[in-house]
């Protein structure tokens, strides 16, 4: 098993506030879908922010393709190939869909190539083509999430981290988001997903991670996580196993 990204025992927090993440670890294998679950406030979002460089890592290591990422800025980490879609989706509300896609390729220097890739994206996501000139802020939640996810593909990243892509979406739309995620995965993009709906997340993942109180409680194949009675009791809302 080769590892693409390895997070070992990291500690991180906001500003000089308390450590929110303390003792979290994680292994990411290429091409697979990884799902982090845990209760509200467990530190899932914080962990992703620490990995992508938005928060400084106080202890521990983040190693990507054998290279330490600690201390790099978000833009530097992005250039290495790790892309992050936060809970808030990070769209430019007052830019059009096309402009948002263009911003998605900010780090690309070749303008022609960028336009070609944007065309490619619009080709694959007809809903975005339909609304290419609409302001992102005026689209529905599902369309915004689609745009946010599609936008990551422009730079052809190795890893895409998605923070609760299903947040605030209707069940049917949630399924669409998971379909997009699977499509990304099928193209060889490694996915690191944070999901509030643990059951749904784990069913769509290969690898499961349970995070609570800022530390990794458990990490293993998604099926194992799903089957574990204790996790069912604590985090999946199931009571059947005692």
């Amino acid at each position: 098993m080769t590892k693409l990204l390895e997070v070992t025992n990291i500690t991180a927090g906001y500003g000089d506030g308390p450590a929110i993440i303390d003792g979290a670890h994680l292994t990411v294998e290429p091409g697979k879908v990884h799902c982090i679950i845990g209760p509200n406030g467990a530190g899932k979002s914080t962990l992703l922010k620490a990995i992508c460089g938005m928060l400084s890592i106080r202890k521990g290591d983040v190693v990507f393709k054998g290279e330490r990422l600690n201390g790099l800025r978000p833009d530097q980490i992005l250039r290495k190939g790790i892309c992050f879609v936060p809970q808030e989706r990070a769209l430019f509300a007052k830019m059009t869909v096309r402009e948002n896609l263009r911003m998605g390729g900010f780090i690309l220097d070749d303008k022609k190539e960028l336009e070609r890739r944007i065309e490619g994206i619009l080709e694959r996501f007809p809903i975005l083509r339909e609304r290419a000139d609409q302001h992102a802020g005026t689209m529905s939640g599902g369309q915004q999430q689609t745009l946010a996810m599609a936008r990551t593909l422009i730079i052809k990243p190795d890893i895409v981290m998605l923070d609760e892509p299903s947040l605030g979406l209707a069940p049917k739309v949630v399924q669409e988001m998971f379909d997009i995620m699977k499509m990304m995965s099928a193209e060889g993009v490694t996915v690191l997903l944070v999901e509030q709906n643990a059951l749904m997340g784990l069913k769509n993942a290969d690898w499961g991670v349970v995070l609570d109180l800022g530390r990794t409680l458990f990490e293993g194949p998604a099926a194992t996580v799903l089957a574990d009675p204790r996790i069912q009791e604590l985090y999946l809302g199931g009571k059947k196993a005692a």
Binding site: Y14, G15, C52, M54, R73, P74, D75, L78, R79, C83, F84, V85, P86, E88, A90, L91, F92, A93, K94, M95, M103, G104, F106, I107, R151, I155
Partner: protein
């Protein structure tokens, strides 16, 4: 009719200068969410640089403008590193930084006061007292030049923001800092850059102010509410809006000044601020800033 035209021209010329004075404030707010109360004090800093060069070496204030701009931009970088960098991620950021810039304004005022005393100063190049006449209407050369130079600088700034890669990054950061950061914009660098440009604009404005208004270190308190009303009216963070706000308010103030009394023309700006507060309950900066 001639009187109205006269007032309009004076108001517009002054409005141009006020637009330049406010543009840096707007830019800094847009990118960093810092309401820089020290901005007018730094404009006065630029005015003193120009004044000294004029007195000591007889250098023309407009020729001195690039020097004042670059000097103040450098001051801006230092201030950013000293005061604002470490606050950038603190929770009560926006309120903290306002008070911090308030403290900075006092420091700048105190420093300038100790160095140059609180005497009124003004640079007096030839054109400051000369005027063109078109029929009955006279156009003071000083104000005209200052207004035109201001608008030229703002136009250059707008082009830079619209067409350069850095300008693109600045606009993206203005709209959504987190998103820009996640898409590969080095927002820390962009922040320093925008702050430097903003304070550089204050320096440039200072050069023009030096022969348009008389100034002394404590004068900046009068300007802060004036600039705030201008910038807020135009939409904080929007350079174009600042220009429009400045021209409108300055023209209104010119009419008030002529028809009601000079004292009340300053009051126009403050009252405008309160009216904006009344009609925009979401606050002066409640809205996401528009793009330039």
């Amino acid at each position: 009719m001639a009187e109205i035209l006269q007032i309009l021209i004076l108001g517009l010329a002054l409005g141009g200068v006020i637009a330049l004075m406010g543009s840096g404030l707007s830019l800094v707010f847009g990118v960093m969410r810092i309401v820089n109360l020290a901005h007018p004090a730094l404009i006065i800093g630029g005015a003193y640089i120009t004044y000294l060069a004029f007195k000591a070496f007889d250098i023309d204030p407009i020729a001195m403008l690039p020097v004042a701009a670059v000097t103040m931009a450098a001051v801006g970088v230092v201030l950013y590193r000293l005061l604002f960098q470490r606050e950038a991620r603190s929770a009560k950021y926006s309120e903290m930084t306002v008070l911090l810039t308030f403290a900075l304004a006092m420091m700048v005022e105190g420093l300038l006061g100790s160095l140059f005393t609180n005497t009124q100063r003004v640079t007096s190049p030839d054109y400051a007292t000369a005027a063109f006449f078109i029929g009955d209407v006279f156009i003071p050369k000083g104000q005209l030049y200052a207004g035109l130079v201001s608008l030229a600088i703002i136009a250059a700034l707008s082009l830079f923001l619209k067409y350069s890669r850095l300008g693109y990054a600045i606009r993206a950061t203005t709209q959504n800092r987190e998103a820009a950061e996640l898409l590969g914009v080095n927002v820390q660098f962009i922040s320093v850059l925008a702050f430097a440009i903003g304070i550089g604009l204050a320096g440039a404005a200072g050069s023009l102010v030096s022969f348009v208004f008389s100034f002394f270190p404590a004068k900046h308190w009068e300007w802060i509410a004036m600039l705030m009303s201008v910038v807020v009216l135009g939409g904080m963070g929007s350079i174009l809006g600042t220009v429009v706000g400045a021209l409108i308010l300055s023209v209104v103030a010119a009419f008030v000044g002529t028809w009601i009394g000079a004292t009340w023309s300053t009051l126009t700006f403050f009252l405008a601020l309160f009216i904006i507060l009344l009609v925009r309950p979401q606050g002066l900066f409640g809205e996401k800033p528009e793009m330039a």
